[in-house]
């Protein structure tokens, strides 16, 4: 790669921009990147048009960091386009990796989302019945909008993905590591998760851990946590044990439980059910009624267990009609 500059693209689909900010947060390093590589597309930071991408030869891009989930037809179109143009396509950040926060939409449905946003909402112009449409005819011509899909997909549902960089957002030092690895041509095996460890958050977490038995669960606001002690042992839900490390224990160190943005450990196929399995096992009771009582203190378990990965779970979305 020495002879020729690396051709890279960064793109966002249904995302918040945090992944791109994470790249900017590599600070001075970003200038390094500019030296090492031609950034051919990066809507947040540099010029570059869809048309340019369409005009590229297939595989002309060495590397594309794709962040964001697939929420609408435009996202899907760009995902397929960039897949074609890139030697290596990276699902960058939780949304592309697992569906991310936008993936929580899979617990509801398209109709309810549109109704809430445009019809049944306290600040909507009274009597308004308008909902945005894929096609609107105005007297001067036609206006198009992408089609809003029924549910959210993770990138690998739509196209073949070479590597996964987890995190919401990925920790800047991880971003650096990934880019450098790529520049140095140290390519991991296809399909692997890079920029994260194969251990879980607990490995990096400095809180003391002992044998676990839980008699009561607390919501974060219901208890003043002991900063030295494992949150779970205090009855505070923390997905740390079921989540890849690499983030730097950002949330537990702030005093709040991990919500699993780095995704499941290497040998786990479903983060939420695995966490359930572990969590329930340490409940300290043999009495069905008492057990019911204890778990009644865990509200909306699904959004804790699958906060960043409903579309990546085995069940993928709510089956409610």
């Amino acid at each position: 790669m020495a002879d020729r500059k690396l051709q890279i693209a960064l793109y966002w689909a249904a995302a918040c921009g945090g992944c791109d900010v994470a790249v900017l947060d590599t600070d001075e390093f970003i200038l390094e990147v500019a030296k090492l590589a031609d950034i051919r597309l990066w809507p947040i930071a540099v010029d570059g048009k869809y048309k340019d991408v369409e005009n590229m030869a297939d595989g002309e891009l060495d590397l594309t960091l794709f962040n964001g989930a697939i929420r609408n037809s435009e996202n899907e179109h760009l995902a397929k386009l960039l897949r074609r143009k890139s030697k290596a396509l990276v699902a960058f950040g939780s949304c592309a990796h697992m569906g991310g926060i936008p993936g929580l939409a899979n617990l509801t449905n398209k109709e309810e989302i549109l109704t809430r946003a445009y019809l049944n909402n306290p600040s909507i112009e009274s009597g308004s019945q308008k909902i945005p449409q894929p096609e609107t005819l105005v007297e001067t011509g036609k206006l198009n909008l992408p089609q809003f899909y029924k549910r959210v997909y993770k990138l690998s549902d739509i196209v073949d993905v070479d590597y996964f960089v987890p995190g919401c957002p990925p920790a800047p030092h991880q971003v650096k590591a990934v880019l450098l690895a790529y520049v140095k041509g140290e390519l991991p095996e296809k399909g692997s998760v890079v920029g994260a460890s194969q251990l879980t958050v607990c490995d990096d977490c400095k809180r003391t851990k002992t044998e676990k038995k839980v008699k009561k669960f607390y919501r974060p606001y219901q208890i003043i946590q002991d900063p030295g002690k494992c949150l779970l042992e205090q009855g505070i839900l923390c997905l740390g044990p079921a989540t890849r490390s690499g983030c730097g224990v950002r949330c537990p160190d702030t005093g709040l439980g991990c919500r699993g943005c780095y995704g499941p450990a290497p040998n786990v196929i479903d983060q939420g059910s695995k966490f359930l399995s572990a969590l329930a096992a340490i409940i300290d009771s043999k009495n069905p009624d008492e057990i019911e009582k204890i778990i009644a203190d865990i509200p909306d378990f699904i959004s804790i267990a699958y906060r960043f990965g409903v579309p990546a779970s085995l069940l993928q979305r709510s089956m409610h009609k």
Binding site: Q198, L199, T200, V201, C202, D203, K209, T210, E211, K212, K213, C230, G240, P241, A242, S245, P264, A265, P266, N267, V268, I269, K274, F275, S277, A278, A281, I282
Partner: protein, 573 residues
């Protein structure tokens, strides 16, 4: 997907399977599954020709995995594992599909049953692809043995081992050896002295250099696993010494029984009427050589009541097995001491099943004893006699054989109290990790085929701690337990089953979710490495930790996630 050569064998089980399931169709179906090299049906797969057929295929076609669709794995898994092992395959390269107990025997609809059989066979094929060759581990067997309880059982077991030149630690809670038998005078049915039996044991135990007797002592903690236990023994005595640690390979629990507390029964007047006494109180008189009432009179009438606390709904449902013969023994001893004493014996049923017991019963009939039969869940009532009567008490009994209510005189009433478990048997069970039945007796690993072993490997039970029994049975059990131990000690090593959980340290983050879950405390946490670790010899492969490991670092050998996933796919495809 890894390349492998699978042989699938569908058993007709005579007509047991073939009557309902179209085995040929199943064979045809599986023969087209990927990786299946060969598929056959046969009349009886478990027969020698059947096993040889499999072995031959393995050799000739280089099969590396075998599926047998036949009866329940609980029936023949071992058989077929051995079969493929003789052909040079690792025994764990076998998977069975249960198409008899769970298919042909429970479904009449041939078509549906055949479809189900196909699904089960396919699941087995997909699973076996993910099987791994497993090696049984073997660990050193420490030849020393710990025996808890210094009664007849404990001492006998100790001597058996010590005579075979093995070191034994004999721990007795009380200050002296002998246990309950040490409180007895003569023994039924041959009326020889219990004291002689016990003294002989005690002297031999005392003089045997291989036996360390620890009196006034209790086992505080038992760590480790078969072949490699460490016991902490606390000797009370005068000055507080701290616990002694001893290394042992096996443990024999001989903690015996305690007698039923007669105070719990009111209608016999025990505790109120001075001359109503228990069998053990009577033994004291016998050993003192003087049978008399509290007032010091020689009794003219003695009544013996059976089944006190035994065979009743409100107390113990079971029979204590030794009381009947002991009662007859009393008749003989009373008659020989006070020839013209009238002895009456109130029983429910006369249990005389042991060797020589029936003769013993007949002799007792000869020596003019009044046998009165009362009904189960009924009971004789004892009342004080009026002044002027020529006896201390009267017993009213609804006599079954005559069908009449009879009142009999008594100066002395002997209550044959039954056996029950000691109150601290719970602690013992917890200490050595064995289970108890609803009455509190320790449970053997198999009531018929494996009566002295328990579900915890390396822990044996002998004597009355497992259930009421007489001296010969107790001695037999004690010696059986010792024999089991000697056999293992002789091999020097023990095999630990290859199916156990293991933690891959590359994936363990030391979250310690699993630590509390193991019923056998097989998981230890390494504070330095901050990793958990499974002591495979302690693991019984239940898989609780495997499913609970949030990072998927624990692998349940032979029941891995991948194996079970493929099985799920197989039954549903």
């Amino acid at each position: 997907m890894k390349e492998c050569k699978i042989g699938v064998y569908i058993c007709n089980c005579g007509s047991n399977i073939a009557r309902v399931i179209d085995c040929e169709a199943v064979r045809e179906f599986v023969s087209h599954l990927p990786q299946v090299t060969i598929a056959r049906t046969y009349r009886y797969m478990c027969s020698n020709p059947g096993q040889e057929m499999i072995a031959q295929d393995i050799k000739e076609n280089g099969l590396d995995r075998v599926v047998v669709a036949a009866c329940s794995p609980r029936m023949h898994e071992r058989t077929f594992r051995n079969a493929i092992q003789t052909a040079g395959l690792n025994p764990y390269m076998l998977e069975m599909a249960n198409i008899r107990e769970q298919c042909s025997w429970v479904h009449k609809d041939a078509a549906a049953a055949t479809e189900k059989a196909k699904a089960l066979a396919r699941a087995a094929v997909l699973r076996v692809v993910n099987h791994e060759a497993l090696e049984r581990m073997s660990v050193d067997m420490c030849p020393q043995t710990l025996i808890i309880g210094g009664g007849m059982a404990g001492m006998t077991a100790a001597l058996e081992l010590a005579d075979a030149n093995q070191r034994v630690y004999l721990v007795e809670k009380k200050a002296l050896l002998g246990g309950n038998l040490g409180r007895v005078d003569l023994t039924a049915p041959y009326l020889d002295s219990a004291r002689d039996l016990i003294t002989e044991r005690i002297t031999r135990v005392r003089n045997n250099p291989n036996i360390t007797v620890m009196l006034d002592a209790q086992v505080k903690e038992l760590k480790g696993y078969v072949g490699n236990f460490t016991a902490a023994i606390q000797q009370n005595g005068g000055q507080q010494k701290e616990a002694v640690e001893v290394k042992i390979g096996n443990v024999v629990v001989c903690t015996g029984y305690q007698e039923f507390d007669a105070n719990r029964i009111t209608h016999y007047g025990y505790g109120k009427l001075p001359n109503v006494i228990t069998s053990f109180e009577f033994e004291l008189m016998l050993r003192a050589g003087r049978i008399q009432t509290k007032e010091g009179k020689i009794p003219q009438y003695v009544a013996i009541v059976h089944c006190v606390g035994s065979r009743s709904q409100e107390f113990h449902g079971y029979c204590s097995r030794v009381c009947c013969m002991t009662a007859l023994k009393y008749v003989h001893e009373i008659k020989s001491a006070i020839p013209k004493c009238y002895v009456s014996d109130l029983y429910i049923d006369m249990h005389a099943f042991g060797k020589g017991h029936e003769d013993f019963y007949r002799h007792t009939l000869d020596v003019k004893t009044m046998f009165l039969m009362y009904g189960k869940n009924e009971h004789p009532v004892v009342r004080r006699a009026d002044p002027g009567d020529d006896c201390e008490m009267f017993i009213e009994v609804d006599e079954k054989l005559s069908g009449e209510v009879i009142e009999i005189p008594a100066d002395l009433v002997i209550l044959m109290v039954g056996m029950e478990t000691r109150p601290d048997s719970v602690d013992v069970a917890r200490l050595v990790n064995i289970s108890q039945d609803k009455e509190g007796w320790f449970i053997e690993s198999h009531p018929k085929l494996d009566p002295v072993a328990t579900t915890t490997d390396g822990i044996y039970i002998a004597g009355t701690c497992a259930a009421p029994k007489d001296i010969p049975d107790t001695v037999a059990q004690a010696r059986a337990a010792s024999a089991r131990i000697l056999a293992r000690v002789a091999r020097g090593k023990i095999d630990v089953d290859a199916v156990f959980a293991e933690i891959d340290e590359n994936y363990c983050s030391g979250c310690r979710m699993c630590n509390e879950l193991c019923p056998y405390s097989a998981i230890e946490f390494d504070e330095k490495k901050k990793r958990s670790h499974v002591i495979s010899a302690l693991c019984k492969a239940c898989g609780a930790c495997v499913s609970s490991c949030p990072s998927g670092a624990i692998k349940g050998r032979h029941f891995t996630d991948r194996q079970i996933y493929s099985q799920i796919e197989g039954v549903l495809l």
